[in-house]
């Protein structure tokens, strides 16, 4: 038998308390509530609700399998990984794991900003379960992979975010475990390094025959890396199969989570022109729907012109919080595709949705499609900019400030 992971009937329950919005219990509240109950005698029990983050999940994974776990946010993907990596315990079910397991649920867990790169390699290695000798043996390899030779003795608080991620991933990638669990960590870092990491992960699984469990929202990466997929929805494993099938099912069910929208209508019906597809791309023309605010975002629109007209206009609407954040119209001629480029450091932080209109300007509305795609903009840790998580508003451009 080559099974390395067997999961039967896994379930994880959380209790959500509705009374009070406190994230944690405070002793003073416990005492105060107790006192209130004593006095009032009419026991107002706080409303508590059970929430199953996972339920009835069963699967088994063979040695060498590369499993991509996909699903919407909050579907329970990370919960599965957390239970498998023994960070949290299941509420029901039984799991059998054969072999050493190591997990990378977050980049650089345990990194201390005050410590140097060298010190952090040792510490992080230990955190991930490596022995001192193992780390020493692989030290040079790790440093070379991370490309941080020059900065080994610099505290990591002075590292750029890219260097930080590279170092953290490098340590994890050199673990000698039979099973590697990776959660969405490759979303950070530049695309070149992402490729390198993926190459490394591919090596790890293909050449060394290790088993990989991988969570990502980036379908291109999942498709490249994995041969098998789990589709998770609302805590249930709804589909387990070849990665291609899983991705297409997912994209069919969740068009807004993919980076490409195709017009499913019969596109030849209109007289003048119609939109065929809209895709969101990064600067390397890869489909993508989550960006850092330091990245360029490209919106590519493919259309079909049946009968050229001088007033053919396509208009993009960018929505945030359900309102139009900004819009941009463009007149088109008889070319078949146009790209709209959103420069880095323009958009605010958060989720944007795209509506698109096709019209003959001031003459006739051809067609319009709402909420066809969505993308997320996240804050990048850039040294010259303040890193604040809750930036509000539609835009977050770099402004010049002067002392007067």
């Amino acid at each position: 038998m080559n099974k390395v992971i067997e999961v039967e009937n896994l379930g994880k329950k959380y209790i959500i308390s509705h009374q009070g919005e406190a994230r944690y219990t405070a002793l003073r509240d416990v005492i105060a509530d107790g006192a209130k109950k004593l006095i009032k005698r009419n026991n107002i029990l706080p409303k508590k609700e059970e929430f199953w983050a996972l339920r009835n999940v069963s699967f088994s994974i063979d040695k060498g399998d590369k499993v991509g776990i996909i699903g919407r946010n909050g579907a329970g993907k990370t919960t599965i990984l957390k239970i498998l990596s023994r960070v949290t315990i299941p509420t029901e079910g039984i799991i059998k794991i054969k072999g050493k397991i190591s997990s990378l649920l977050e980049v650089g867990t345990g990194f201390h900003p005050e410590l140097t790169g060298r010190e952090n390699i040792f510490f992080n290695g230990a955190v991930l379960g490596m022995t001192r000798n193992e780390i020493k043996r692989k030290f040079d390899e790790i440093v070379e992979f991370a490309e941080v030779e020059k900065f080994l003795d610099t505290p990591v608080k002075r590292y750029s975010s890219g260097m930080y991620v590279r170092l953290a991933f490098a340590v994890a990638a050199h673990l000698d475990s039979e099973i590697l669990i990776v959660d969405e960590v490759l979303a950070v870092g530049d695309s070149q390094f992402q490729k390198k990491c993926l190459g490394k992960m591919d090596d790890v699984s293909t050449k060394e025959g290790r088993t990989v469990l991988f969570v990502s929202h980036n379908m291109a990466i999942v498709r490249n890396l994995c041969n098998r997929g789990f589709l998770i929805n609302k805590g249930n494993l709804i589909f387990d199969g070849e990665i291609e099938d899983v991705i297409s099912k997912y994209e069919f069910d969740n068009p807004k989570d993919s980076a490409k929208w195709s017009n499913k209508k019969n596109v030849t019906k209109t007289k003048y022109f119609d939109i065929l597809s809209v895709s969101i791309l990064d600067s390397d023309n890869n489909l993508k729907n989550n960006f850092f605010n330091s990245e360029k975002i490209k919106i590519k629109i493919d259309f079909l012109v049946n009968e050229p007209h001088s007033q053919m206009k396509i208009q993009l609407y960018f929505l945030k919080f359900g309102e139009i954040a900004f819009t941009f119209p463009i007149f088109i001629c008889h070319k078949y595709s146009i790209i709209c480029e959103i420069p880095p450091f323009l958009l605010g932080i958060g989720n944007y949705f795209i509506n698109i209109d096709a019209t003959l300007h001031n003459i006739l509305g051809v067609d319009g499609y709402d909420h066809i795609l969505g993308f997320e903009v996240r804050m990048d840790k850039i040294e010259c900019m303040p890193y604040i998580e809750n930036i509000q508003g539609y835009f977050f451009p770099i402004l010049n400030w002067y002392l007067e």
């Binding site: 944690y24 023994r86 960070v87 315990i89 299941p90 397991i101 510490f123």
Partner: protein
């Protein structure tokens, strides 16, 4: 799947290999302590000086307040030495308790993302306190040389009393760190205990000034047994060993240790969900 190497996680069951895991993760224990020490001496500008200034100032203040102003007796021993000896175990206890009770919260990202026997975390705080202990010991040595004070041969028993202090610190550390995860305002309780404890423990004075009939009651504070033990073994002459009180302290130390351990083990599986 018949290998020995199989990890079985079953809902509602505690892990079978907990203590074995603890052994497997001993490297992490070492690295955690090492990191704590590195960070401690890198982050604060005065670094090691802090570990020197603290016990020295406490010693000076206590000598002036209790020795000079209150004119409490110290037997044949110079007052600063009487105080410095007590500062050794007290400082060890207070530093490790403060560090340990905060350790889980301070490392919440690790708890939420990585598996390791959680008990490593508060335990490794002991090492930081131990470094401070060694520094204070050196200060005591210098002080004894200054006063030309020769310690008793019973000083060989110091490790035994230190062990008691370690067991007490671990127990209290387990208890408070776990409670801190559940009740976040617990962290206000710990500094209070430490501050209050300093005055009710025989740090600035000798236990001999406690009236005989209250002596047993006084030993309910487990640090009394430890501090008296330190004084007995280092000063030697003229220090009576109050056995019944000491036994009570030992009993309470083990009670606290096992209570802490039990509570920690009971709650640690849910740390990742709560933190």
């Amino acid at each position: 799947m018949q290998d020995n190497n199989i990890i079985v996680i079953e809902a509602g069951k505690t892990e079978k290999h907990y203590w074995l895991d603890l052994w497997r993760y001993r490297e992490l224990f070492y690295f955690l302590s090492w990191r704590e020490i590195l960070v401690r001496y890198k982050q604060t500008v005065i670094g090691i000086a802090w570990s020197v200034i603290r016990p020295v100032l406490t010693m000076i203040v206590f000598t002036i307040v209790f020795g000079r102003l209150a004119k409490l007796p110290s037997g044949d021993v110079p007052y600063p030495i009487l105080v410095s000896i007590a500062i050794l175990p007290w400082q060890f206890f207070s530093v490790s308790l403060a560090e340990a009770s905060n350790s889980l919260i301070a490392n919440s990202s690790m708890i939420g993302k990585i598996y390791f026997p959680r008990i490593i975390m508060p335990s490794s705080s002991i090492i930081v306190a131990f470094i401070d202990f060694l520094i204070s010991f050196v200060i005591l040595g210098i002080l004894m040389a200054w006063y030309k004070f020769v310690p008793s041969w019973k000083i060989v028993f110091v490790p035994l009393f230190l062990l008691l202090a370690i067991i007490l610190s671990l127990g209290a550390g387990f208890l408070f760190s776990a409670a801190n995860v559940k009740y976040r305002d617990f962290r206000y309780v710990v500094p209070f205990i430490i501050q209050f404890g300093l005055y009710i423990s025989p740090v600035g004075f000798s236990s001999d000034i406690i009236p005989e009939r209250f002596r047993f009651l006084y030993s309910i504070n487990p640090m009394v047994g430890v501090i008296d033990g330190f004084r007995w073994s280092i000063i030697g002459k003229g220090i009576d060993f109050y056995m019944s009180g000491f036994l009570l302290s030992i009993a309470l130390i083990f009670l606290i240790f096992f209570t802490g351990l039990f509570y920690f083990r009971k709650t640690e599986q849910t740390f990742a969900d709560k933190i």
